[in-house]
Point group: C2
Chain length 827, copies 2
Amino acid sequence: MKQALANRDGGRASFDRLRTSVGPVGQSVPVVDAYERVTGQVGYVLNVELPGMLAGRILRSPHPHARVLRVDASRAERLPGVVAVLTRADLEHPEALTPRYGRMLCDQTIVAVDRVRFVGDPVAAVAAVDEEVADEALDLIEVDYEPLPAVFEVDEALRPDAPLLHEPRPEVQPGLGHLAGAVAGANNLCGHFKLRRGDVEQGFAQADFVFEDTFRSPAVQHVSLEPHVTVAQYEGGRLTLWSSTQMPHAIRAQMATMFHLPQSKVRVIVHTLGGGYGAKGSLRLEPIASLLAWKARRPVKIVLRRAEEFVTVTKHAATVHVKTGVMRDGTLVARQMATYFNTGAYADIGPLVARNGGLAMVGPYRVPHVKIDSYAVWTNLVPAGAFRGFGVPQAAWAYESQMDMIAERLGMDPLELRRRNVVHDGDRHPSGQELEDLHFDELIEGAVASVAWQPGDAWWLRQAAAGGQDESRSRQARPSGRQPREAAALKGGPGSAAEPGGQGGRETSKRRGKAVTVIMKSTLTPSTSTASAKLNEDGSLDVATSSVEMGQGATTALAQLAAEAAELPYQRVRVSEPDTDVTPYDQQTSSSRTTFSMGTAVAQAAREVKRQVLELAAGLLEVGVDDLVARNGRVEVRGAPERGLDYGEVVRKGRRGNLLGQGACVTKGGLDPETGQGFASVHWHQATAACEVEVDTETGKIEVLKFDSGAFAGRMVNPRLCELQTEGNTLFGLGQALFEEMRYEDGQVVNQNLADYMIPSFKDVPGDLVSSILERAERGEVHGIGETSLPPVMAAIANAVYNAVGVRITDLPLTAEKVLAVLSAES
Amino acid sequence: MKQALANRDGGRASFDRLRTSVGPVGQSVPVVDAYERVTGQVGYVLNVELPGMLAGRILRSPHPHARVLRVDASRAERLPGVVAVLTRADLEHPEALTPRYGRMLCDQTIVAVDRVRFVGDPVAAVAAVDEEVADEALDLIEVDYEPLPAVFEVDEALRPDAPLLHEPRPEVQPGLGHLAGAVAGANNLCGHFKLRRGDVEQGFAQADFVFEDTFRSPAVQHVSLEPHVTVAQYEGGRLTLWSSTQMPHAIRAQMATMFHLPQSKVRVIVHTLGGGYGAKGSLRLEPIASLLAWKARRPVKIVLRRAEEFVTVTKHAATVHVKTGVMRDGTLVARQMATYFNTGAYADIGPLVARNGGLAMVGPYRVPHVKIDSYAVWTNLVPAGAFRGFGVPQAAWAYESQMDMIAERLGMDPLELRRRNVVHDGDRHPSGQELEDLHFDELIEGAVASVAWQPGDAWWLRQAAAGGQDESRSRQARPSGRQPREAAALKGGPGSAAEPGGQGGRETSKRRGKAVTVIMKSTLTPSTSTASAKLNEDGSLDVATSSVEMGQGATTALAQLAAEAAELPYQRVRVSEPDTDVTPYDQQTSSSRTTFSMGTAVAQAAREVKRQVLELAAGLLEVGVDDLVARNGRVEVRGAPERGLDYGEVVRKGRRGNLLGQGACVTKGGLDPETGQGFASVHWHQATAACEVEVDTETGKIEVLKFDSGAFAGRMVNPRLCELQTEGNTLFGLGQALFEEMRYEDGQVVNQNLADYMIPSFKDVPGDLVSSILERAERGEVHGIGETSLPPVMAAIANAVYNAVGVRITDLPLTAEKVLAVLSAES
């Protein structure tokens, strides 16, 4: 990981960084809470303790689908130490409580009412003096179930005779119809996104070749180190929540609706999260904790155990059918996709994930004819929700795998195929939006250089070269020995045994392969962030935002942006934690949007403060505002820097107590629900992955030797944080590429712990791990780097594996068993 | 107390209330936390618990004045359960800590360094796992003292040969020199306020009579039900304090200076106080708790015990010499006063108390020639600080007692004397400020009516009437049988035995008397309050202020003002608690300033929100802003109310997340330090007290039968809260009039508990207790009622006692023993 810095500072010329300022932005200042982090002093919500606080525990369904016949909590209620038991009977207070909720569709209840819909569905809950008593009480709650037929796979769920999870169809949340997709009828579809451009049938007719492939990726876990935690207190008609959430204002709004309170009587306080990755959006523990607190009239804390995390929220398993029409020279002309996101028992944000994945399906390529259908489907599995990348990793896994498969079929260099089709400024996204500020050429060449990619690194070109110059040429014209327009087999790898890959004929079972992939990703659009700032009497600045610090360094980056805009030393700035009573609205901390969206709002608030400083100082110094310049926390008269005042002096002499500024970033946007045409993204995240792997042909084991994640950052706020974010993406993607997978049996997760569910360890970290952040600061715009570089990782590793040993795997993860199974079948 | 409402609503015509609005302001809505209060759920700082929190306890000096020779904490440090011991050795980190502090003068250290200066002065402190261990550790700290001569009374302290408490003279806090008074030299004066107007010597020369009297009032306790509490946490270079303070921003600023931190790294959070009354301003437990937390690297909580409250802060004992020149017809022509406030061992806010008392010394009367000297004096007693009324009760005790004494000497009706001299709009205060918005005529006539005051209720006029018509007339010309210009005796009561007072000759030992007093009081000027407001997506409003709710109903009144300004239903507004990280600056919650000063800021912020609502709605409705009207949380097109949007709809459709507004109230003002000339008060608090007492001539016991406190409120925000504040003042004053007094022996408080120190009980509440709030809403200005009606209470009771039994007591309290001593001496 050390290479990252070395590479960035001394590396390739194309990754130069243009500093527009010597100020706080662009400096790798340490994260503001570095000391607290390394000394274990961060005050997570997990650490919140209140007088009289009870422990809450949840009783969960053992059935994937069942009717709830009877819930009897009377024995539990009598257990000493139990203060409140919550069952469906408590939901019957229509004047005080609306127990149905859901981010997009009202398909969920606080605890199960008539049915349970997955193994783990909350049925009842207990608040007791401690967790042990609460657990004992859970055992005393009697529930009678009548099992119902269950569906687990999207194709089963969409059969006409499939059992329906939700009937009648739950209502869409007011105002969200256009996002959920216009789904009607009695079926298990909870969302359907459509993207239409050109005439895809005409496109396929024009194409020299049409390739159809299907790619699958499983449900995986977010595995935040900190589990979900909520502390709820309901006092005097006020509900206060300390919750590990990425969206305090959305939680507040939903809880206000649920408890029939004005939002001003619901307070959501968020401390630093120990990771989020999307898992900590939407209502999770808040409804149960709040209702327990309301019943108990005491604060209640619920902390999920790891096994419960596994049945709370997952990444969407997805099945992606890609049909691509391409000319002989590699020009893409048409793409049709049908994508099925398995969203589990409750819709949550699933329809939006399907939408975002659908929007990304064409990748960073010019394709004139596009027809995308992206579905979110209810099944009797653990609900899926937001997950780092929000549908785009599933999309990129498919299209970037297929790009290499297409190149092989055409006998082309896969990088050449990409270069030929990649979008440039002025091209249009399939949504119709004109694209700008694109830097794929630089990103791709950087990635190519970092692994020294050569056309001969492609398995098929190497094979061709080994077979003689002429054969190579002829194969280039007739792709991969297959007929044009032939549907690709599920496992489309070539049938020949592997040659030693790029190792000059060493006698070993290990083969190496490289690959480079590219993706483009939207950010949440439209979106809204607001912020305020106050300059104190000593010239220090308090910034109030509702952005959530979850280890990504948001508070650090925002402090840097505020410092720059206010012309203050960075050390004098402090960014608040969210507290919906007093910190301004933010839509959510997700979608790599905070540095851009909240950063814009914060900078505006800070500039407003600076404006007031100058105005006040002009009066105090008896000069015109235009005669003044603000610099490093001080106002000076132009040409006479000795005539000046520190910011603090200005506030004190002006007797203002503080100077307040406000800022907002409200972006426009929106898509037509029938065609997906419109304004899709306020800017586009652009990333590459370049890697080299080594595959042991005897064991099937894959080792990632080198990984270079490239990402475009606009103007960089904190280079080191950009790198760390990007490294995190690489490791997330590496886990999903190689071994992460939630395994179910009859709807029951069977690897519900971190012994059976594997995440990358330090031993899995590539020895050569580089984050190549591309900065183009000309526009001055800060992008936000967040999850940008995660989507291309999995296909990069899969393509590299193919180039190493010729094994094409289209369903993640790329386990040693799968590799070995293909190799064994061929030998 | 029930009479109050009846009286207000159906009472005297002059106390009518002009409603300018049917909106939230002017309604007696219940306090917002009423439910929490009556169910014991208010979250005081006392209830704050943090993981790993330690209990802090303080070792205090047993000497009133001593040199500290040795402090050895080694045995305490070894006690199991002790985590940190704080002694003077810990103050020696000049790079990290400035241990000297003080509100106006830097005369205090976190713990004693070279000397202790009063019995109770902190010498060391311990943080341990619980209070019991901490107490045991205190016993193990060895301290050697060398006693020094001590001074307790101001006259001793000001003798040239008096031992000096502070040498060299401590530095004045930067920028506060003009407030502290220009004191120099080696003496025990810590403040000297001067007010000069006209030529007092010339005035006395003109006067027909000059009367000199001296009045004394003792130190008393605030007796908040909640003691002082501070929780300190020092983590990652950030200091967080939960503290029971009335001035979060001032605490933050001082702690930032002490710990060499930018203010943005010091966070002060305040929950509802269980009473403040001025005791909870200034640094109290914050320095010790913070340093313990810093040493222990764990949170530390210190809760004072009641006995410690007695040695933490008191009301100033005061000695007031009044010399008044008066014409034969009662016209006041000159007043000279020398006032000595006993400020105890550390200056704290003493110089400002002396200043404020000095400013009030002339009362609500026209006096052309004025010379006031008001001194704050260091002595070896418990430090005195702010106390409800801030110097004015001591002043009013003197001048309103003397007004009756002057009337007697002139043989006048004391109300007539007041009517003749009381100020009216256009008159000038001795500071030179032109007075306006005065309503003394109405207030006085209201008070006169409430007790049916007749001239014959004055002891001397009744005596004269009893003695025959002629004698009465002649006594009117020659006051009280004394020579003009004769100095009044300390106990100036007439020497004749009491006649039954106003009871038609019933044969009983009980005598009744009535009195009416009047005062005028400044408010903190200049002052600064700022606020912000955010309108949420459902049309509810969050108001952020740093005003402290301490039972006075500030959050309720501010919510009403915000609701009115934003044109919202009151129920949708929530006012925050102070949190210096995110709530805007407020100078302090004191001086009856919050409703006016913060109310103005809050209303401005709310109006700004309304302006944005209208602007946004105009765009959404496609009309001009001027075509819209805002009403009750809704924007409507004029003349077409069906075309409208709720505020929440405006925010949602406008996709702003919230609408933010800001407001500030910055008042001008300031006085010349040599003459006291300038702008003294942004408005003037005006109050009366009318009472009837019954004195048992056999026991000396005084019973207050009826009390009517009158106060001018400008425009009333919440009538019921105005009454409750005023009732509170009456009871505070009643306690101070009749029995409250801190008693010292050799500098040691000897009634350091609520068994020996008496406060009023429900049995002491007058059977007929009325709060008469005078509202004049024409100007639309909200005044703030806070402590307005406390100052006249004590003199009213003393004057009524005189009118009952002819016993004039000039040193508070009016104990039965003192009454009986005079009666016995006379009989």
